[in-house]
């Protein structure tokens, strides 16, 4: 009986119009990508993503690069990823991209067009999430790659040696993984917040405060944070300065795959709850 129920369930899943849903999703992603990447309103996200690259480019063109400076610049790049991209760039970038996907459409009074079209709401939400993630990944991923390439290209042979025969490529892979997981993690959280609250900004600022004080919290509470998982993936850890360095609670080092799995689980849970929420989403434009 139990086996029959399971097989019936599997059969019902298989007969769903997956191809049609995939087609709808692709179309929605294309529309959203165009709005996220090629609109005038998206210019500030380019600024957020590429400003460190621009500073590094100035450094490459302006300063001299003795081989002794390689380790210092490597630490600086790690600091840029750890403190700028994760805490500020990816955070505010994802806040802008993902809170606009649903709440922005409500403010612009255009979400009802989507909701009235024959598309499942879960497909709509997942397509929007996919489009936001692709936009954020394209921008921040390419910014990290460009910053990395500029920084080590300036050192000539020593830089190439560090990248191709040393730990360089591994570090680049780790940075890209961190940025990817950061975009997905913050994206999922902000997408949910934008559906839960009429004004998601106070909640987002609380998330920012939570992420900022997270290193000084007990290890159990540190697990409820995107940045704490990403910290374990850093190839080079740059210690905090000032009073935060004294208060920082050192947690047990976590294996990379555990950190990835932990964060992916968090993302799946948040997305599943978002799908549940969007089923019951009602628009009252008069209160927006």
């Amino acid at each position: 009986m139990n086996t029959e129920a399971v097989s019936a369930r599997v059969k019902s899943i298989l007969v769903q119009p997956w191809g049609f849903w995939w087609l709808q999703m692709r179309r929605l992603v294309r529309i959203e990508l165009r709005r996220n990447l090629f609109s005038r309103k998206a210019a500030w996200i380019y600024f957020l993503a590429f400003i460190p690259t621009a500073v590094i480019l100035i450094h490459v063109l302006h300063d001299t690069h003795p081989a002794s400076g390689l380790s210092l610049d490597t630490n600086v790049l790690a600091g840029i990823v750890q403190f700028y991209y994760i805490r500020l760039g990816v955070f505010f970038g994802c806040l802008g991209i993902f809170s606009r996907l649903v709440r922005g459409e409500m403010i612009e009074r255009s979400l009802h067009f989507y909701l009235l079209s024959p598309v499942r709401r879960e497909i709509l939400l997942l397509a929007k999430f996919a489009a936001g993630s692709i936009s954020a990944l394209l921008l921040f991923g390419s910014a990290v790659i460009a910053a990395f390439a500029f920084l080590y290209a300036a050192y000539g042979t020593a830089g190439l040696d560090y990248v191709f025969h040393g730990p360089g490529l591994g570090q680049l892979g780790a940075y890209l993984l961190i940025v990817t997981l950061g975009c997905l993690g913050y994206g999922a959280v902000f997408l949910l917040l934008s559906m839960m609250f009429r004004n998601p900004m106070p909640a987002a600022m609380l998330v920012m405060g939570w992420e900022a004080i997270n290193p000084v919290l007990p290890s159990l509470l540190q697990k409820i944070s995107v940045a704490s998982y990403l910290r374990h993936l850093m190839p080079i850890t740059v210690p905090g300065e000032g009073v935060f360095a004294l208060l920082t609670v050192e947690t047990e080092p976590v294996a990379g795959w555990v950190a990835c799995l932990g964060l992916l689980t968090l993302i799946v849970i948040v997305l599943a709850y978002s799908c549940f929420r969007i089923r019951r989403l009602e628009i009252r434009y008069t209160t927006e």
């Binding site: 300063d63 700028y84 806040l95 004004n199 998601p200 987002a204 600022m205």
Partner: protein, 290 residues
Amino acid sequence: MSVYRHEYRAYTGKLTPLWTRVRVVARYALGEAWSSRITVGLFTFSMLPVVVYLIGIFLANNALARVLVMQGNGVLEVNSGYFLRVLSTQCWFAVVMTAWIAPRLVSFDLADNALPILLSHPISRFRFVLGKFIALFLCLSLVTWVPGLLLFAYQGYSCSKPWMGANLRIVTGLLLGALLWIGFLSMLGLALSSWVKWRTVAIGVIFAAVFVPAGVGGIITAILRTRWGYLLNLPVMMTQLWQRFLGAPPTMRDDMRLPTSAIALVLATVCLICVAMLNARIRAREVVRG
């Protein structure tokens, strides 16, 4: 409908003094700011550190309480460093208050195309902005220099030695530092809110305007090995300024400290940009799309 009565004349009665017109805008802006429960909640929350600092002053001046609470361990000294911490804490709460209140004062008027109606009243654009500025400035005063001065007065009252006269630099520094900061924040908050149509977005933009340049400044300092990157870092810049105002010991290395003139120049430049932004946006025009 044809107008056939030509008996209209300019008003010749008593005019309201100019300064009271600003007061009307400020009064309504204050009402708008405090109509939100979140504003009240933020204000209450921002008073919690003041209570902690108050207890600190009480302990510092009461030997018996110090023995009972701290069991004789540690020395609690109320000096310029203590009031620097008070000022820093309260000024960062002021950023949160600005991010919440400033968009409420401006974005609603802009989003609802209300500016043409408001500016058709006998009030100039300057006085309209001044009214909003005064409202925001007063709100921020309540969380910055007002509690700071109260703490200073309490320390002067509870200290057994003549303390106030010997530490006048602390109170002038505290007042000057707080006034400068909240004036700057008010300008920044109003200017950014006037450029962002939606209040929701404006809150995030104000936070980003404070913290993202700080990150960029940090990158410039680290990559280009120069202290001038800190000129984009408002937290570092203001902390250095407050230290000098209060006469507190510096926390940064000598080669990383910024000249006061450079800090003043940056603050003045940002304020001028804010004035230009407000001048461009606060106009009696209506945007119609479609």
